[in-house]
Amino acid sequence: MIEQTVMTDNDIIRRCQAGDREAFRIVVEKYQNILYGTAYLMTGNRTAAEDHVQEAFLSAWKGIGSFRSGYPLKPWLVRILVNKILSYQRANANPMISLDTESFADPAGDDPAEEIAQRDQLRRVMQRLSNEQRQVVLLRYFAGLSLAETAEALGRRQGTVKSQTSRALEQLKDLIEDDNKS
């Protein structure tokens, strides 16, 4: 009988901290899609999103030594990514995300029609929101971060994040309800 070992994030982190690249590959593969989606929705640009994800993972690798085990890995990674994107946007003064239909519809260029349709819906949803609301909704529901983690990642107060979230949800109510019914 083959003994199957289920590695938890903690084990992986410990191995990464010991310099195990294979372990880090597991981290990358596990979180690359969610990071990419977040980056893509924050930048509206495929190449930029890919670059930011790469840079975020590189930073995570360099900084994994200081990561405190016992804490969830995903919020930390998302925080690094958001930090990178926001710094970049601040430095380049292009904080406005253009959610153009074409690139949004098919970022990779070879996606099935259903996925394209879903992303289009997402585009419509995001377009209704201000940039701050988009970031909040993105981290809370798309990346699955908690209220505290979102606030930490965006450098805002929890109260602010909470009110921004509820205002955003109010605006998205009909779209989300429709989607649920379908």
Binding site: I80, S87, L122, G144, R156
Partner: protein, 474 residues
């Protein structure tokens, strides 16, 4: 309320479902790892979530740094401006808290006059020929003074000093000494006596000496305080003023103290008298009588002091020195000199030594304090032959701040040792302490500036932490 919360939770769940369903449709680059792995050894700047320190420096950079730098700049400018203002104020010896009516003084003084005003006195100097310094006490809101110098120009300001003094209930003893050059000393003596009597005063003391050609007299007159300045005025018109000194002493506090002591002693006297009346034995009577004698003596003594003081306050004393003008073949030189010295008192002593060394005279010396800075005014007379030598020596006492010399015309240089005449060249010397740049006021201004800066930084830091200064990314 509960329904609202349920609705909100419900909406959150739906949103979560909505987004997560779509999250799955985002696929990262398939070759991400192969692109990433070779870069893992790259030396890269850490951009993981910034630590507290790093965040602070990042927060400080940019517009905040500009704001803080600007604030520091503004504060430095303010501090410098304050320093300049204070320095100017000190140089001009203007004391804004003083009750001196400067406009009146300046208006009253001719172009040849200069004045040094302090909290307690005004020293007026005339830079013109044969001039005299006048020291005026400042005891009232507006002081009055009217004087005529040898050249005939005059100045006046304010209201009557003595009257005002009385009006505010101040007890001030005014005294003056005036040296006059007159053509005939005997006539002048008579004039002085008549004047004193006309003003309601009297002659206290009089003596005269010398030959017909070279006569000299000293007379002390007492005039009512409210006629003090009028008397001086009239005296000045009798001849050429060589030297004049006015000083006043505010004795209000001493007067009040003496009155209080007197009242207390009188009460004691009364109570002892009452006890004495009730005494039954002879020994008691003797003991009380002894005490009573002491107290009565005390009362009389105090009453005497008070009477004397009242008399001194009511009647001002003026000492007049009358001389026949010296035989002069020309105008003697005169000079004014302002020297900043390390120690005013020591310098005064050395100046006096220097002047006596050349058979000169120190006519007047006034020391005053202004903002804790000591300054002295000395009126010196030396022989013309020694004038240049003395001016040079005085200049070496410290840093010369101002120097003017009125050269002699056709003056005949009389060797000091051969002359029977008094020294004729005048030197008006002002000794000041150098103005230190770092006065308490400067330090206060700078400290206040630093405090404001610290408060500003704290406010910015708090605002920054509260997210108020964060750049809007919308």
């Amino acid at each position: 309320m509960k329904d609202e919360k349920n609705n909100s939770d419900n909406m959150e769940n739906k949103a979560q479902k909505f987004f997560q369903k779509r999250a799955e449709s985002f696929k990262a680059d398939k070759d991400l790892w192969s692109k990433l792995e070779p870069r893992l050894d790259e030396k890269q700047k850490m951009t993981e979530p910034a630590g507290r320190k790093e965040r602070f420096w990042r927060w400080l950079a940019g517009p905040r740094l500009i704001a803080i730098t600007t604030s520091v700049g503004v504060l430095v400018i303010l501090a410098t401006a304050g320093s300049i203002w204070l320095t100017n104020n000190n140089t001009a010896n203007h004391n804004t808290s003083s009750s001196i009516d400067r406009a009146a003084i300046e208006k009253g003084l001719g172009a040849n006059y200069g004045y040094i005003a302090t909290q307690s006195s005004i020293v007026i100097t005339n830079t013109a020929l044969g001039a005299f310094p006048v020291t005026m006490p400042v005891t009232t809101t507006t002081a009055v003074f009217s004087a005529t110098n040898g050249a005939g120009s005059s100045f006046t300001w304010g209201d009557n000093l003595a009257n005002n003094t009385a009006a505010i209930g101040k007890q001030v003893i005014s005294q003056a000494s005036v040296s006059l050059n007159v053509t005939n000393v005997s006539t002048a003596l008579n004039q002085v006596e008549t004047m004193a009597q006309n003003l309601g005063g009297s002659v206290d003391n009089m003596n005269s000496s010398g030959t017909q050609n070279q006569q000299q007299a000293n007379v002390t007159i007492r005039v009512p305080a409210n006629q003090f300045l009028a008397a001086l005025n009239q005296l000045q018109s009798m001849g050429t003023v060589v030297n004049q000194n006015i000083n006043s002493q505010d004795v209000t506090q001493q007067y009040i103290d003496l009155q209080a002591q007197l009242t207390s002693a009188q009460l004691e006297e009364q109570s002892l008298q009452a006890i004495l009346a009730k005494a039954t034995t002879v020994s008691d009577e003797i003991a009380i009588q002894q005490q009573l004698t002491q107290v009565i003596a005390q009362v009389e003594n105090l009453q005497g002091q008070i009477n004397y003081m009242q008399n001194q306050v009511a009647m001002s004393t003026i000492t007049v020195n009358l001389n026949t003008p010296q035989i002069s073949t020309g105008q003697a030189p005169s000079g004014t000199l302002t020297v900043a010295v390390g120690n005013v008192d020591n310098t005064i002593a050395s100046v006096k030594q220097l002047i006596s060394g050349v058979n000169g005279i120190v006519n007047a010396s006034t020391v005053s304090f202004d903002n804790g800075k000591e300054s002295a005014y000395l009126s010196l007379q030396v022989y013309t032959a020694n004038f240049d030598q003395v001016m040079t020596a005085l200049g070496k006492k410290g840093k010369i701040e101002q120097k003017t010399v009125q050269e002699s015309g056709t003056s005949q240089l009389i060797p000091a040792q051969q002359s029977n005449n008094p020294p004729d060249a005048s030197i008006y010397l002002t000794l000041t302490e150098p103005t230190s740049f770092w006065t308490a006021a400067h330090i206060t201004i700078i400290a206040a500036g630093a405090l404001i800066l610290v408060v500003l930084i704290i406010i910015l830091a708090i605002a920054g932490r509260a997210g108020l200064l964060r750049k809007k990314t919308a």
